[in-house]
């Protein structure tokens, strides 16, 4: 097939003297050209050769590793009746872990396949503890599993993909060796097309030579893709068996979430204490002080009471009492918003109404989330609206609260200046990053989209029950 100049958005192809024309859209033609380009260039990219090298190296590593591990394990099991056997078994597992790490390193360096390191080995105290930790090391057992799967896969890969590469060169080079054969032996797929006697082509004629060369070229361009298929399965194996243990990873993420929750509640308590200490308590002390002064002034001889001064003091005390009450109300609302008692919708309506920026609210919920989720949703919206008022220079904001299956989705949007970032918005303790922690703690997600120039859209997904 020789593609010719496309005209009228079509492609004309001449095959065995007959002219065929395909109507192709511009897009299809582009795609075809792109595909041809990729196929023709692929064998000359670095990636192909690193994949081949990786496959050969890792096959060797896995073969040697599996032999070693299975031999030592067998020896260990055989000797398990004695204490010594257990130690051999433990050492065998430790080396399996090491081989796994080596394979992971190979993948990282040669394939750019970055797999996170699994949990480091934590040997418990004492020899017995160490032995037990070795034998129960999930990472090591998974590495053994990797070797056990990887070895047969490597054998198949060598039979198919590596031999395809080999044959590609064998076939391409064959015509050089003239009519009498004697070129490099072929031992893969080529033999099914050209039955050869004992790993080599016999004497071949001109047309056969051309055919073998063409076949070599086809192999040459096909081999990278076959190899890639094998390597991709290998990547999958490495990711799933040599990476962090999913159970352990889950445990770790839960631990993280727990730490965040504990930290967040400690921070909240500290904030409340600070508010009470600096605000209400100070107000009350000042109030008591003024009343004390007034009392003393009234205790003198009735004739000499400076009534104006007493009135002033009582006046100031009265003002202080009202301020203290207002502050206390704000603090109490920060602990648990009373509006939530009537439901999330009502509470959000209060927030929207109190917001400094005109705010629209739309709520479509069928089920009621648990109180904890409602509180988080409420505080998210409160914090986000406060951010809008403080930072966004917005003229309008909107809140959407919808139920999507077993999830609650909150979207807070403003038409402000944009450019918000998780780290810069709000104060460090109660800012957006803090919100994000709170949301993560219940397995929720917080997304921020805020291009410079706006609009800023923050989406929070929360499970209906935590």
């Amino acid at each position: 097939m020789t593609p010719e100049e496309p005209e009228d958005n079509g492609v004309r192809v001449r095959i065995r003297g007959r002219e065929l024309s395909f109507a192709m859209t511009e897009q299809q033609a582009d795609r075809a050209r792109e595909l041809a380009h990729t196929v023709l260039h692929e064998p000359f990219t670095k990636r192909v050769w690193s994949e081949l090298a990786f496959f050969l190296l890792s096959a060797g590593l896995a073969g040697a590793g599996l032999s070693f591990v299975s031999f030592t394990m067998a020896a260990g099991l055989f000797l398990a009746i004695t204490f010594f056997g257990l130690a051999v078994l433990a050492l065998s597992l430790r080396s399996a872990r090491g081989i796994g790490g080596f394979a992971r390193g190979l993948a990282r360096n040669m394939l750019d396949e970055v797999v996170e390191d699994p949990q480091p080995f934590a040997g418990r105290h004492g020899f017995l503890g160490w032995l037990q930790s070795c034998l129960r090391d999930r990472v090591a057992w998974r590495a053994v599993g990797y070797l056990a799967v990887k070895v047969p896969w490597s054998i198949l890969g060598v039979l198919v993909a590596v031999s395809l590469w080999w044959d590609a060169f064998a076939c391409l080079l064959h015509p050089l060796f003239g009519r009498n054969g004697g070129g490099p032996p072929v031992w893969g797929l080529a033999r099914t097309f050209f039955p050869a006697d004992d790993f080599g082509f016999g004497p071949t004629g001109f047309f056969e030579n051309v055919a073998i060369f063409v076949l070599g070229a086809v192999f040459f361009f096909a081999a990278p893709w076959v190899m890639r298929g094998f390597v991709n399965v290998d990547r999958l194996l490495i990711r799933s068996l040599l990476g962090p243990d999913p159970t352990a990873a889950r445990v770790r993420s839960l631990e993280q979430a727990r730490t965040q929750t504990v930290d967040a509640s400690a921070a909240t308590l500290r904030r409340i204490e600070r508010d009470l200490h600096d605000g209400t308590q100070a107000h009350l002390v000042a109030l008591a002080m003024r009343l004390g002064m007034a009392k003393e002034k009234l205790e003198v001889d009735p004739e000499q009471v400076d009534l104006d001064r007493v009135r002033e003091l009582v006046d100031a005390a009265h003002r202080g009492a009202k301020e203290a009450i207002a502050e206390l109300r704000d603090i109490a609302r920060g602990i648990h918003p009373p509006a939530l008692d009537i439901g999330l919708e009502g509470a959000l309506a209060t927030l929207a109404a109190r917001s400094a920026v005109p705010t629209e609210l739309s709520v479509t919920m069928q089920a009621r989330p648990t109180p904890a989720i409602e509180a988080i949703a409420y505080f998210c919206v409160a914090e986000l609206l406060a951010n809008v008022a403080q930072h966004a220079q917005a003229s309008r904001a909107s809140i959407f609260c919808t139920q999507q299956g077993s999830w609650l989705r909150l979207v807070v949007r403003d038409d402000g200046a944009g450019g918000a970032q998780l780290t810069t918005l709000g104060s460090s303790s109660s800012g957006l990053a803090g919100l994000s922690d709170r949301v993560h703690a219940v397995d929720g997600q917080l997304y921020l989209v805020s291009p410079p120039g706006g609009p800023t859209v923050v989406t929070v997904d929360l499970p209906l029950s935590s």
């Binding site: 200490h277 002390v285 008591a288 002080m289 002064m293 009392k295 003393e296």
Partner: protein, 218 residues
């Protein structure tokens, strides 16, 4: 007293600071400075030395024990400066730090005490002349935490009351006033206490405080 007592105030809450200034001016004290953070007090004391510095324990920047550290620093630098620490909580630990080597010219009071203006002013005056003013709360905590309960159990109820007031730094006259007894009766109680607890007798009130505190802490 020659001239008005000179007071410097470091308190980060503006409401309280203003209230204190008002109260002290009202009672005839001279205010040499009313500031909101440790650095400002440091320079105010250096420029215009007061008789007593009233210091809030929790101040910027970290809102932990800035006031306490400032108090120790000022005492080391300005001999004879009275310090009245002023806090919304009583931490026995702070009291121990503050009274580590001397109880002369030291006060540690809950902020609530300003409500009883006369008591507060009396405490301030006591600190100014080198006496001690410990909050009853401090004394209660010390009495509660002491391991000397065996020794204390030999005291009569009245003697314990006297011990507490003594630990606050009050003079015999003030104790007599508080308990509505004669000064002679108080002197007798004090002598009994010192004998029963085997404490060194001392004339100065602030040494007496220290003796009692050491006894409770040991």
């Amino acid at each position: 007293m020659v001239g008005a007592l000179r007071i410097a105030i470091a308190e980060d809450s503006a409401i309280l600071r203003d209230g204190l200034v008002q109260l002290l001016v009202d009672r005839g004290f001279a205010i040499t400075g009313a500031v909101g953070d440790p650095a400002a007090l440091r320079s105010s004391v250096a420029q215009n030395p007061p008789d007593v510095a009233v210091i809030d324990i929790r101040m910027p920047p970290t809102f932990t024990d800035e006031g306490l550290r400032l108090a120790l620093e000022l005492r080391a630098r300005h001999e004879g400066l009275g310090i009245l620490l002023f806090s919304q909580y009583i931490e026995t630990r702070y009291a121990a730090d503050l009274l580590a080597d001397d109880a002369a010219g030291i006060g540690y009071l809950l902020k609530d005490r300003v409500a009883d203006v006369s008591d507060f002013v009396e405490a301030l005056e006591r600190v100014a002349v080198g006496g001690t003013a410990l909050d009853p709360e401090v004394v209660t905590q010390l009495l509660g935490a002491t391991r000397r309960t065996d020794s204390l159990s030999v005291l009569t109820g009245r003697e314990r009351e006297v011990l507490g007031l003594m630990a606050e730094g009050r003079s015999n006259a003030a104790i007599a006033n508080a308990l509505v007894v004669s000064e002679g009766a108080v002197e007798k109680h004090v002598a009994n206490i010192f004998a029963k607890l085997d404490l060194p007798v001392s004339e100065k009130d602030h040494r007496r405080v220290l003796a009692v505190l050491r006894f409770l802490e040991s």
